[in-house]
């Protein structure tokens, strides 16, 4: 299971980076989305997978019995997904405004502020 997820993470990173190297702003944003999803999946995988043992604390016990699935990475991912969603929404509005004010979605034409 870890191996399959690791493979997916790698493929997501590769696709994300490839899309970000393209000249179209839309592809750039899709690439960003893939990159943040890859990072989320990486957290999930790297923290260790435990299947079928929810972290439920038995009545009277102080902590769940070993082994149990660590809930913290999932809380982290949840936070990261929400942040990623907000950022993605902003990036899409920005891309649209860039297109409106410059009339192009080709990154190679956006060089007037470079030095």
């Amino acid at each position: 299971m870890e191996f399959a997820l690791a493979l997916i993470v790698g493929v997501l990173y590769a696709c994300g980076l490839y899309l970000m190297l393209r000249r179209s702003i839309v592809k750039l944003i899709i690439g960003l989305a893939l990159l943040s999803n890859a990072a989320n999946l990486l957290i999930f995988t790297a923290a260790g997978l435990t299947r079928g043992y929810p972290p439920l604390v038995a009545l009277g016990a102080a902590r769940p019995a070993e082994p149990f699935a660590d809930p913290l990475p999932q809380a982290l991912i949840l936070t990261a997904i929400v942040i990623g969603f907000g950022v993605l929404a902003f990036a899409m509005v920005l891309a649209y405004r860039v297109y409106q004010s410059t009339g192009t979605d080709d990154l190679d034409n956006l060089r007037s502020t470079d030095t």
């Binding site: 750039l28 943040s36 990486l42 660590d70 990261a80 907000g86 860039v98 004010s101 060089r111």
Partner: protein, 502 residues
């Protein structure tokens, strides 16, 4: 007492919320913003005083004991940074009154400014790496909108580069967090500091270290990751540029210093060699980029990069004297660089352009403005008795003690080149005769009395502080020294965090 720690985050949050409620009234938004940043500065000052007197303070938000809850922690270094954030907020809000147009003001300029300050203070005060990521996102979102607010074509082009590179940095940061959690099972910095010592997987830790270096390096604009900065920082209104230059890259440097002194301490010294190479290259490429520029703000933007190199040099040398130099340099560079940006804004207001070739004759027209430029400019170049001299002296002495001659040579050369580009601005903007037909040049726009106060008061305050930091360097230096010792010897930090209650 420990409640002081929450205030630098809470005050801007309340200010932003209140400003949003007063959406229709620009005058009230201004008043709220001014009150909030003044309160922020006062709270941060009180925090610094309490930390300097009683040592590191920590508080567990929600009373979840460390390492499970979110820890806020302030040592001398982070308290100094919070004070700087408060001061920059106050200066920029005042300056914004005279320079930000009504359109930007009525679309949420002041609430955004306060959200940005909240994110910055949160990043300085948090004791948890994931929480640091969240604060980074808070300040980034606010900075994205501040950069793009107004919607000019140049702003849009700058914003797309700034947003893309900062989002890549965030994605790398998040990936590094995931792997680190997999290694250590915690993200509380104090807890990590304990668990990473003598770790069984040095290769994996090294990989995480490099991911963190790249993530923070993009935000701090170090060589070769700085190209987004000169491409975007000159596009928004100058008040925004001054705030960004004063605080945002410094958050990146702060995070680098915090993680590399607390978590990723490398006994073999390879990290230090690597860091000092990067520091030297950052200094040199930044200053060479500046030499080629003929736009006031672009030139200053390249100097931001070059000064980041000095801060990194303090981290690369990694003795308590060097870190004290870096802390002192941080205060110096925030003041000097922002003062220069604010002066460039006044020049633009008077003459309508940032182009050095089109400017001229301002020394004859406005001698006081010329002097207000000269103080931070000479300080940046490292002239005694201004703050920059002592900052560089401390760094270079520290470098010489541990015999790192290459980086010391680079630092001294870059000082000369900095002086060269400051003199270039001086001759082009202030000394040479006005360009074109003098009789035909349009009359200077008249500044009203309140505008004059709003434009010049922040610059005068910064110039006075620069002189004060230079003339009375001893108390500031000893404060920086105590901050540096807390960074070098992290036991007190770890102990305070892990034992703190409530």
């Amino acid at each position: 007492m420990t409640n002081l720690l929450v205030l630098p985050i809470l005050i801007p949050a309340m200010g932003a919320a209140l400003s949003l409620l007063l959406w229709r009234s620009r005058a009230l938004q201004r008043a709220v913003a001014l009150g909030a940043v003044a309160a922020l500065l006062a709270a941060a000052g009180a925090l610094l005083q309490s930390v300097a007197e009683t040592g590191i303070a920590a508080v567990q938000v929600g009373d979840w004991p460390a390492p499970y809850g979110i820890t806020l922690v302030a040592d001398v270094f982070s308290a100094i940074m919070a004070v700087l954030a408060g001061f920059m907020g106050l200066a920029v809000v005042l300056y914004s009154f005279a320079t930000i147009d009504a359109g930007r003001e009525s679309y949420g300029y002041y609430p955004l400014l306060q959200v940005l300050l909240m994110g910055v203070c949160g990043a300085f005060l948090t004791g948890d790496l994931f929480n640091l990521y969240v604060w980074f996102e808070v300040l980034l979102m606010a900075s994205f909108v501040l950069l793009a607010l107004g919607g000019e074509r140049a702003q849009m082009e700058g914003a797309i580069k700034y947003v893309t590179l900062n989002l890549i940095s965030s994605a790398l940061f998040l990936a590094a967090l995931g792997i680190l959690y997999g290694i250590a099972g915690t993200l509380n910095m104090a807890d990590l500091a304990v668990k990473l010592r003598g770790n069984s997987e040095p290769g994996l830790v090294m990989a995480v270290t490099s991911l963190f270096f790249i993530a923070f390096g993009i935000k701090a604009a170090v060589f070769p990751l700085f190209f987004w900065l000169p491409a975007s920082y000159h596009t928004p209104p100058v008040a925004v540029t001054a705030l960004f230059s004063g605080l945002l890259t410094k958050v990146g440097v702060y995070s680098l210093i915090r993680t590399f002194t607390l978590l990723f301490v490398d006994e073999s010294g390879r990290t230090q060699t690597f860091l000092s190479a990067i520091a030297g290259l950052t200094m040199i490429t930044g200053v060479l980029g500046a030499v080629a520029q003929y736009d006031f703000r672009r030139l200053l933007s390249f100097h931001i990069v070059s000064q980041i190199g000095y801060l990194l040099m303090g981290l690369a040398v990694m003795t308590s004297a060097a870190l004290a130099g870096a802390i002192y340099f941080m205060v110096h560079v925030v003041l000097s660089k922002s003062a220069l940006f604010l002066v460039s804004g006044v020049v633009e207001r008077l003459r309508g352009t940032y182009d050095l070739k089109a400017l001229g004759g301002l020394y004859a027209a406005r001698p006081w403005l010329a002097i207000l430029f000269l103080i931070p400019a000479l300080s940046l170049a490292g002239m005694p008795p201004l703050s920059g001299f002592f900052a560089k002296l401390a760094l270079i002495q520290a470098g010489l003690t541990v015999e790192r001659y290459v980086i010391v040579t680079a630092a001294l050369t870059v000082g000369l080149l900095t002086l060269f580009s400051m003199i270039k601005i001086w001759t082009e903007v202030f000394w040479k005769l006005p360009q074109g037909d003098i009789g035909a040049s349009p009359a200077e726009p008249q500044l009203t009395k309140s505008e004059t106060v709003q434009l010049f008061l922040p610059i005068i305050a910064m110039a006075l502080l620069i002189v004060a930091l230079g003339l009375a360097a001893e108390p500031f230096m000893s404060l920086a020294q105590s901050g540096a010792e807390q960074l070098i010897d992290s036991r007190a930090y770890v102990q305070t965090v892990l034992e703190a209650r409530r």
